[in-house]
Symmetry: C2
Subunit: 498 residues, 2 copies
């Protein structure tokens, strides 16, 4: 079997296993084997779970086996959480049981120094001879939405979605899954690649590239054994879907820190920003931008230029957003005369007649959507940043005990008002989703994160992108425009070849 | 009376009024006069409130007057919320009533064009002749912690604290008060300076400078009539306390947007970054950094150098934090041999023996504080960034229905665990506060925002600075170090003169 076909089958078993042996499972929640077991059960793994443990007959109510070879059913994937020195023999057991894919959580390999490197080399050699492929060692684990599978050391309940993510740091990976949850952004697959003794970052990226259900790829990168090959693969994937990269160890001090915590080789050829750009990869500069960019690129339509329309309910925010656009190389164009005329019919006579469109403290939220539509239809505008799109919570504020009586507000009136404000807000958001679909232009929203479940659901289901600061929204828009430009250039080049 | 003495008395009346006439107050919550009235009542103004309204006898249960001159008691401050054309006559009424300080919320003055400019000039001339000082017009209002006074168009309940803030944009001002609340950061005084027909940004900054209870000044700046004079005042204040400036209209497009929304004059002399720096002002580059920097500078000890110690519970975050330090010009120094030896006694043998100090997945939170103390005592370290300082919520995760039964967890055990985790977490935070005080070095924390009220209180009361991303914490540390450097330079210069 060709190596690439073997890798594909291995990763199918990793991300879509029907049955898993968890070697080192325990009832003790103070141990990783207990945490991972609880994670797998608690997140509702859709498949069979076989705890393997030399002492207990049951782990968390599930029948346990003393050895992997004693499991009567076929097993697609083994996960090992035992001390380093025990791992090679357990890998041999796996081979005997016809398990060809083994996820090694166990640490104390190359990341701890020369002794560990020797242990890792020996492990790899055992695995190769036995025909077993390894994830890790020193992996933090994996997540797969297709099997509702959380085999992780971190206690997270990731949302299911369409971003696939390989991370050369376990704790950054776990944090991104958690942030994704807070941003209502889900993942399709996640793997903490650990020391990459066998399967490497490149293999995972290639797999994600071929997976049609994956709509964006995230990569946290610290070091590469073969940067050239990796870059070739990443470039190939970026032709079809957005690839967002965060590079850890960008500075000399950072590289030093990276070498001391992972099994990374010293003297790795550095990859420069320019080569990322050339390959069409989106480089995130901060961890926050990392998840933001993947989130928006996986969901929003790509703009066909870099001209931003801004809609705001206050002058100052409009100024700040305009500055941020200019500073990130985006244009805030003049609007077409027809657009201004259409807005004249809605807004008070003293409105600013320009971009940003300032709604001048208009209190009716419905005006917002009307202006939005006019702005989005302007041919000079490629994408819109929409500030304060969500309605405020006026009534709940005013219904505090100190005021309620004085204002003569009763609960029914407060509830009725809140319901009507929520309805109006939902109409605006649904309207924005509809406009994005029909016009194919992205909208990035700015506002305080909603406390209402209805808005949250709309954000999750429709992929609306809402950020608390204008600068964060502008950065997202800049990356959408960057990737849109790359795709247009690719298409133009391909058209020229035909 | 000298003008500066007059200004001081005016601002005393503005920020510490014993009695207020609210001209244009109404029971209608759909109008600004209703919102502001509700805000003043709802936030518990400690003084007398006199609604002035030509129709109703009572506003929100408080006796109203038809004219300000009919109020029997003395009035320190008037606030006008009526249409622009009615304002001059009302200002004359105020003068008759011996009210010398008038806050003009009413808009439709210079910000709407030449006609509005004429109205504003006429208003100013009436006020000058009558001996009345004006805040605004087109102000969004004020907040004063000393009187629990919220005279604002925005529905916010700002926290009380020690930051004083003047904003040339009302909506940016209101947003910062709201963000402050979420960050557990309070304000002493806030004023939206509006069109600055009379009192200007410079006057407010000077006042904040002389107020010993104000520990940091925030300024949102769009344009200045007399940049030189303003700069002189700001520089003087920055010698004594941190002054954080956000400049709106940094770019040409942003300037254009600013001109169209405020009464700002075109062709104002631009103020450059270099002159901010020279004057010791801290310039925030993003709105998020604006509040973050004021928050940290008002509370944390100033570092005496730019060397950062990093403590982390995962390698990847350490790498990212190190990169961010380097990129912002901060040093991540090697630790002293004595520090490494002390850490050797606590951490497992394979720990990375360097800075960042990686606690290598140590699960006991108490180790955290011990390592923290050792790191902070290292003479090579001027300040510490502490990642994942708060305990996770392991038990509440494991006690979800799907797991609880399988794991044999009962409510009592979960509660006991949570209580003990919270206690351990509180000990760590209290320990950090103690170390900051005794060693005089700042600590900036990185972690998910706590859901526990106990942690929140500790953060608010002790001024602990917690941020969700390492980059945000590093930016705050960089600004602390920048201002610390400025103060040391000043002191050195003064010492040389003696």
């Amino acid at each position: 079997m060709a190596k690439s076909e073997d890798t594909r089958q291995t990763l199918d078993a990793l991300f879509h296993p029907r049955s898993i042996a968890l070697i080192g499972a325990t009832n003790n929640l103070g141990k990783w084997g207990g945490i991972i077991m609880a994670n797998a059960i608690g997140n509702g793994f859709k498949g069979k779970l076989f705890p393997v443990n030399s002492r207990d007959e049951q782990i968390m109510g599930i029948r346990a086996y003393r050895k992997v070879t004693e499991i009567p059913d076929p097993v697609d994937l083994a996960c090992i959480v035992t001390p380093a020195e025990t791992v090679p023999a357990l890998v041999l057991d796996c081979a005997r049981k016809q398990i060809r894919t083994v996820l090694v959580i166990s640490s104390n390999f190359a990341e701890t120094g020369p002794e560990g490197q020797k242990r890792q080399d020996a492990l790899l050699s055992v695995a190769r001879d036995a025909g077993v492929r390894l994830v890790g060692p020193n992996s933090m684990g994996i997540f797969s939405s297709t099997r509702s599978l959380v085999l992780l050391m971190a206690l997270v309940e990731p949302l299911k979605g369409d971003i696939s993510f390989v991370s050369q740091s376990g704790n950054i990976g776990g944090q991104m899954l958690e942030w994704g949850k807070r941003l209502k952004t889900g993942f399709r697959h996640f793997v903490s690649s650990g020391n990459e003794a066998d399967l490497s970052c490149r293999d995972y990226v290639e797999y994600f590239g071929r997976d049609d259900r994956c709509r964006a790829v995230m990569i946290y990168l610290e070091s590469l054994k073969h940067p050239g090959g990796w870059m070739e693969t990443a470039r190939e994937v970026a032709r079809r879907k957005p690839v967002v990269v965060f590079k850890g160890g960008k500075t000399e001090a950072g590289q030093k820190a990276a070498r001391s915590h992972s099994g990374a080789l010293a003297g790795v050829v550095p990859i420069f920003d320019a080569s990322f750009r050339q390959a069409g990869l989106i480089q995130a500069r901060t961890t926050e931008a990392f998840i933001d960019c993947a989130r928006s690129l996986s969901r929003l339509p790509l703009p066909s230029g870099n001209r931003v329309g801004i809609i705001t309910r206050g002058g100052g925010w409009g100024v700040v957003t305009t500055d941020a656009c200019e500073e990130m190389g985006l244009e805030v164009p003049a609007l077409q005369p027809k657009t201004l005329e259409a807005l004249d019919r809605i807004l008070p006579p003293y409105w600013s007649r320009g971009n940003p469109v300032d709604l001048v403290a208009a209190t009716d939220i419905r005006i917002y959507l009307d202006c939005m539509e006019i702005l989005m239809k302007d041919p000079s505008v490629d994408g819109v940043i929409a500030l304060s799109a969500l309605p405020g919570r006026v009534m709940s504020f005013l219904s505090r005990p100190a005021l309620k009586e004085r204002l003569g507000l009763d609960d029914a009136r407060v509830r009725a008002y809140e319901a009507s404000a929520e309805k109006a807000g939902r109409e605006v958001l649904e309207g924005i989703v509809h406009l994005m679909r029909t016009l194919g232009k992205p909208v990035v929203l700015v506002g305080m994160y909603p406390t209402s479940g209805a808005f949250e659901t709309l954000i999750e289901k429709e992929g609306l992108n809402l950020y608390p600061t204008p600068e964060r929204a502008v950065r997202v828009m800049a990356r959408l425009m960057e990737y849109g430009r790359y795709r247009r250039r690719l298409e133009a080049r391909e058209a020229a070849w035909i």
